[in-house]
Subunit: 139 residues, 4 copies
């Protein structure tokens, strides 16, 4: 990881009270492959509740997708970028002690960047997928 | 509001640790119009942070949209429903003491329901819009 | 309708072989309300086929949504704009001699514009909805 | 390719006037990988027109994505399925004599299936991506 990428990740993890609350940690940043992987541990406030004990709420998964997708574009353009829009599809219940999200920038142009995000549980099952469009101009 | 609707809203607000954390409250449920309006107050953990003091993080807005859209379908089918997918578009920075989200079920069929969600700040500006597809079968 | 808007609509209807093929016609352009309504008649090439005689194919409906949403942003920014992305939800089979699509620009900022599109059949039933993000810079 | 898959593809290519108009042809169906690749040649009616000579209109690309994504789910569930919704992101102008779309079913559950679609030009550049949700029940 370059120093620039390291600085952007640190800015992400420390600069936002919401991201701090989600307690995200960097698993891997593979600049060659253009992928970023982060881990979000379960905490009581993120539970969906009801009869589905131990399941992450979809809103928490959406927040994870938004954030990690942003980071995949951010390391390409040199700083955190505003989200324009994103879509999340829930494929399976997301349970366990933690989720892992891997984001890949599919294309970064002059105006916008598009990132795909795959969310896995600890068994390696794909539980949700996201696709976001971000501004390509940090700020 | 019918007793059934009241029970579904109570189940929403009390049954999920995540929704409790978001601290949502019901503003209006207009069964005639098929709309549900909820309010999400700012709290430190929901801040985007950085130089944009007082701005809600997009992930928190996405969670608000997912939840209120779900409720608009839930009151039509008689219970909380799994989210299949949703899209959120951020139109303006979302700042202030609270956001208000109004969801409308555009169509509820046998298999799925589709809801639109408009998010407003306290000045009545539209700051984000969401569109979600939910299962039409409670469970 | 202003002369500018009239010129943009004419450019839309005449400038693209694909739009000519779809045979779209302007029903109403309400600059006050910020809405554009266009009509797409059935033609044999647009049929879904199979056992669903007389049903528009979803791909034709998607093309209608993309085009009319674009026009709603175009009249605001003064010229046709590139589509960045859009989503289409199919709510009911779309049958009959023609479909009508009404697009509303929800927000046009410096970089992008967002438009909602409602598709109706001749009975006034909502058969599909679209939401698109377009560049706010004509070209 | 199994006889079943062959029959489903034939049903797709021959059963719909709209798909016939798009003139799609099967490039590869890899049941092992769960991918379907189809080719759509340029024809005058699919051109975007204007100053962008030789560019496919976005509506035609959306129709390609919808159709090939559907096929990826169809071969898994044994017949063509209704599209529930899809999203398309345009990454680059799509020019040339033909486009190739590869669809992968990311997950097929009891109720719905989700497919990703990558669209490439003849130079192998990714020009658009799609993600669709389809009913998992043929009919």
């Amino acid at each position: 990881m370059t120093d620039d990428a390291r600085a952007i990740v640190a800015q992400f993890l420390d600069g936002s009270p919401f991201v701090s609350f989600l307690n995200l940690s960097l698993v891997e940043l593979d600049a060659q492959a253009g992928t970023v992987t982060m881990r979000m541990p379960m905490r009581p406030e993120l539970e969906r509740g009801g009869s589905m004990t131990g399941q992450f709420h979809g809103g928490a998964i959406a927040a994870l997708i938004d954030t990690v997708g942003d980071l995949a574009v951010a390391v390409r353009v040199g700083g955190a970028v505003p989200t324009i829009n994103f879509r999340v599809d829930y494929l399976r219940p997301s349970t366990g002690n933690a989720l892992t999200a891997t984001a890949t920038a599919r294309r970064v142009g002059r105006t916008v960047g598009v990132a795909d995000v795959d969310v896995m549980d600890e068994q390696g099952r794909l539980t949700a997928v996201g696709r976001g469009t971000y501004s390509a101009q940090p700020g």
